[in-house]
Symmetry: C2
Subunit: 375 residues, 2 copies
């Protein structure tokens, strides 16, 4: 994997670059649609490529390990073959999912023992086997196994948790560096920088991660309940300590405004379930603000969902989409998801243009105002 930094904004930390992987290039800043169980909910692979113009999608180790299971993915020849997505894939390590299980997981130095949310069966994730599983899945970018403490973790908890995450990171790299890719192309391992809401822990985590000279770095444990200002502050504490020549990925973030603010603070990669999950509930993100399509005010609005939108789905009318969402017709969820993902991809593409053109700061300011409106 290679990262070429093209432009750094003069007024901020915003950057434009190009990541090159075995499955093609990714122009940053980029948003990565989430395909947890091997599919982006409601979206055909073809539309993801040709209409939404996604450049990289996510998969999740935890979900794919449980279902369909690693054997099936290996027999398919890796996740790219399994889901027909021949562009870059990133897999999350499952750390976040396992720790979200709460009572049905138990932590030890060795790893995390947990019960499947599907059938209650027992499993153990360790830094080593999570790397092995991600070798089997075959993502271009794989994530280290970490502990993700809650957003309100106190200092002692966050510190202890971070120490464990550091030891696990070491084991991840040991395993990664002593194993080979299965499908003949390179994979890259990104550390996940934790540290809760404590600047000194975030600094320490960053210095530790940078020591591995990784292909890229992820910021984890944010957007998990802490105030937005704290999220931005922690993001900045990390990005200002990361090497400029490597991509930075802020995990699980966020709203369109969160994304612009984080780009402004030097982040290159994002993922979030928001465009699909909120879409299924009838929330649309547009360049003029958000729309709750369930509102009565759209009942007889026969104008397109987003007249200036880039997706074919933007041409359906608001009244029609409202009808579909209220009637719980599948197509409603499909249209809203397709629109929202296309909008997120448009947003980062436009941000990139503005960074390269030197107009990012002014554009961002104007966009944030519009994006904060409720239509």
């Amino acid at each position: 994997m290679d990262f070429e930094l093209k432009t750094v904004s003069e007024q901020s930390r915003a950057r434009a670059g190009i990541i090159s992987t075995a499955h093609g290039q990714i122009e940053t800043p980029i948003f990565m649609p989430v395909g947890t169980g091997g599919s982006v909910k409601g979206i055909h692979t073809r539309d993801l490529k040709e209409d939404i113009e996604a450049q990289i999608i996510l998969g999740n180790t935890y979900h794919l390990y449980l279902r369909p299971g690693i054997k099936v993915i290996e027999e398919a020849g890796g996740l790219h073959k399994f889901n027909m997505w021949n562009k870059p894939i990133l897999t999350d390590s499952g750390g976040y999912q396992v720790f979200s299980l709460g009572d049905i997981r138990k932590l030890s130095e060795e790893g995390a023992r947990f019960q499947s949310h599907i059938d209650g069966s027992y499993h153990l994730f360790t830094p080593e086997n999570v790397i092995d599983i991600q070798r089997s899945i075959g993502a271009d970018i794989v994530m280290a196994f970490d502990e993700c403490p809650p957003g309100d973790a106190d200092y002692a908890y966050a510190k202890e948790s971070l120490e464990l995450t550091k030891r696990w990171l070491h084991r991840c790299f040991q395993r990664f560096n002593t194993t080979m890719p299965i499908y003949g192309y390179d994979q890259s391992l990104f550390p996940i920088i934790q540290g809760g809401t404590y600047a000194d822990l975030r600094k320490s985590a960053t210095e530790n991660a940078v020591g591995y000279d990784a292909d890229g770095y992820a910021i984890g444990g944010l957007s998990v309940g802490e105030p937005e200002a704290v999220m931005y502050e922690m993001t900045e504490v990390v990005t200002e300590r990361l090497p400029a020549e490597k991509p930075r990925y802020l995990m699980g973030v966020g709203t369109p405004v969160n994304i612009l603010e984080s780009i402004d603070r030097g982040v290159d990669m994002f993922d979030c379930v928001m465009p699909t999950r909120n879409g299924r509930n009838g929330m649309l993100f547009t360049s003029e603000g958000t729309i709750n399509i369930r509102n009565k005010k759209w009942e007889n609005d026969h104008s397109p969902i987003d007249a200036g939108g880039t997706s074919f789905a933007d041409q359906y009318s608001k009244a029609y989409l409202r009808h579909l969402i209220i009637s719980k017709e599948m197509l409603g969820a499909q249209i809203a998801s397709q629109h929202n993902l296309a909008f997120y991809l448009w947003l980062v593409k436009e941000a990139r243009k503005q960074i390269i053109g030197g107009t990012f700061a002014a554009w961002k300011k104007e966009m944030v105002q519009k994006l904060n409106q409720r239509l």
Copy 2:
């Protein structure tokens, strides 16, 4: 509306023709995807047109009247504008749906009083207002309001029900002939021929319907629980008494084999929820037989769903589709629905070719054998 009969098979009643409507031509025999509430479940309008190559779709008066309501559809400028489907539409009258409501509907000479399945509110459908509603929806082909007796109705019930349906048909035509289309293009009213499983009632119903010199005729009240042989017998009793120069529509039928057998008996038009509903449950119809994709045997079958299929969705693998259906991922329902509809459309298109080529009988025999297989 115009119907041109191109070919009648020499060995059977199978026919190939062309229906011309204000929204374009329909090559018969044809299968019409069901878009009950204004959308074909799981399918984008664009894919319905370009991938599945549907030529006409259905809407349902009962569902559309309740939601989004006639006012919204009128303000959109009719259903074609509302759902962006600019090809022909047929609306069922709601008779079947109202009678499916059971306890929450009450029948009288005037019409059917019923409670909404959505909010329990009271409504009255009469032959007159059902025509009015279908004027508002603006379908190219609208259906008469009828009573649909259960498949096991005794003779007395079926006879009494048919007499009511005949009186209602008269009122439907009176209303239809004294009202104008709202959106400036012609609409056609098809009578629905009832009579349960009783040949003499079916004959009487057919003679009565033909008296109206309608643009086409529908056969209703079949595939509602009676044996298949009876369904075919009743279909033939009707089709042999219908004028050759008008299209015949067998409502709510059926499996691919049902469709070929009914084409053989002179039917031109079909609709059924089976390709989408069974698809959502993981049942695939293919030219080699049916597949229950949930079966363990497909777990590691990485070959395409249907290597010879016409849809882009046929290129996903069986193992991937199985994973999606079992994981209840929306995309699974979308892929299976898309495949099944494309297959149904392929089937009737191929039947048409064979009828025109004079090879329908032999082809049908071979296809029925294959279609009856479980893979």
